[in-house]
Symmetry: C2
Subunit: 264 residues, 2 copies
């Protein structure tokens, strides 16, 4: 791996879901290593999950099994709790934050524009590494894919957007990418947001993004980059409903473990 | 009117569409006055319109009839043209920019993330006033309502979002508001973007927004503010499709001409 814990601070590690939790744990090992290994202080945010307590406890146990002594779970069930300064303070000393899977729109409906969200941004600015799997990966985007349809062909109505955390300002992150055939919805999201870069991450795969915009793929699958920075044309405004949309001048790259990219 | 041309620079004037163009011209008069009256240098951007040349010429004629000597129309039909430095330069000396109606998603598909968009932001930062009617008003938002359904009841799928210009960072602007019964879609947009403020503007009505966040309504209709800054709860993530969505703790205000608000 190119990056090691001593090199960098404040990385984003969006994971495409279903990361290996039992055998090699390539991605989770990388994350804990980056956060300081046994010295890491990791806070798990399981708010996206419909079974937040179970999901949170599962990850806390995994990180504990991996030797991290300081792991806490941040449970919030309401926007009121997400505005509680005591809960937000829990994040203050974290070297790593891990956001679980579930529903990214639930995560944002509960923590969006609350003290918890503020604390996450504050942590990032201070060098905390932030990982998120599945819903937790999507929520890193500013223009977040809330939900959508499968399929390879872009169409206007196949993707619904909402506000994400905006940790990755111009990236639109999608997950379970090859497994759920999501190229069409990511192309649509890029067409609806000129200048953005779509990042479609497979299961058990992650894209490590450094604050300087450099990025590297880890894990067993691929990351598909739908780079709209030089988009030449789209008729997404005129091709209505579920009819096919034209998108041209978008640079698509498929990257496997070890491949690097630049989003700066 | 509270604000006069000598007071302020860099106002946003989103207009709800169908502003009076023939008799009292309250809103268009206010805009030209703000931009310097006869000394104003106004650039019309008609890109949203399906008949951009006709629409552009109509507004150029109106501003000319109102005594503004320096009015130009910025015609761009493609992203390539929108990246042309010569065209972008046309905006440089403007004291006012006027974006016409049409389709806000067409406007953004053509100028989003191009030199024209950069030039608009540059103008704003340098004190140029920016007005937009209908589509031109919606496009001022960061989280822009691209299109949606009518109706009073919010539902998850009734509004489609895309990237707007982001001139009004936390505002989601909607237009033809009472006339097209758009409360439901604006409530939904706010639920999908916690912390945002929805601004629903009637026809022949405008909301003058100063750089300090103070705002005042002008024109014959009302502006409906759907203030999500203190949103307490939404189940927009779990109420699927077109079933009704719960939104609570949102402060709704209806303001007529002369009423003031604060979005800071």
């Amino acid at each position: 791996l190119t990056y090691s814990a001593t090199d960098i601070e404040g990385c984003l590690i969006p994971i495409g879901g279903a990361e290996d939790k039992k055998s090699r744990r390539t991605i989770l090992n990388y994350f804990t290593h980056l956060c300081g290994g046994k010295e890491a202080r990791i806070v798990v945010i399981p708010v996206a999950s419909a079974f937040a307590h179970e999901t949170g406890n599962t990850y806390c146990k995994i990180f504990g099994d991996m030797g991290v002594s300081n792991v806490e779970c941040l449970h919030v069930d309401s926007r009121q709790q997400a505005n509680d300064p005591v809960r937000a303070n829990l994040l203050r000393e974290a070297t790593g934050i891990f956001m679980t899977g579930g529903d990214q729109l639930k995560l944002m409906s509960v923590i969006g524009a609350t003290r918890i969200e503020d604390a996450i941004h504050h942590c990032r600015a201070n060098g905390t590494h932030i990982a998120g799997t599945s819903a937790g990966a999507s929520a890193m985007s500013r223009q977040m894919i809330a939900f959508g349809r499968s399929g390879a062909t872009p169409s206007q109505r196949m993707v619904q957007l909402a506000s994400g955390l905006g940790l990755a300002e111009s990236l639109i992150i999608d997950q379970h990418f090859s497994q759920r055939n999501r190229l069409g919805r990511l192309m649509t999201a890029v067409a609806l947001n000129p200048g953005c870069i779509g990042v479609g991450i497979d299961e058990d795969t992650a894209c490590v993004i450094c604050p300087d915009g450099s990025a590297e793929v880890i894990g067993s699958g691929t990351v598909t980059i739908v780079d709209g920075r030089e988009m030449a044309y789209t008729d997404v405004y005129s091709a209505k409903g579920y009819s096919p949309v034209t998108v041209s001048g978008v640079n698509v790259r498929v990257l496997r473990s070890g491949a690097q990219d630049y989003f700066g």
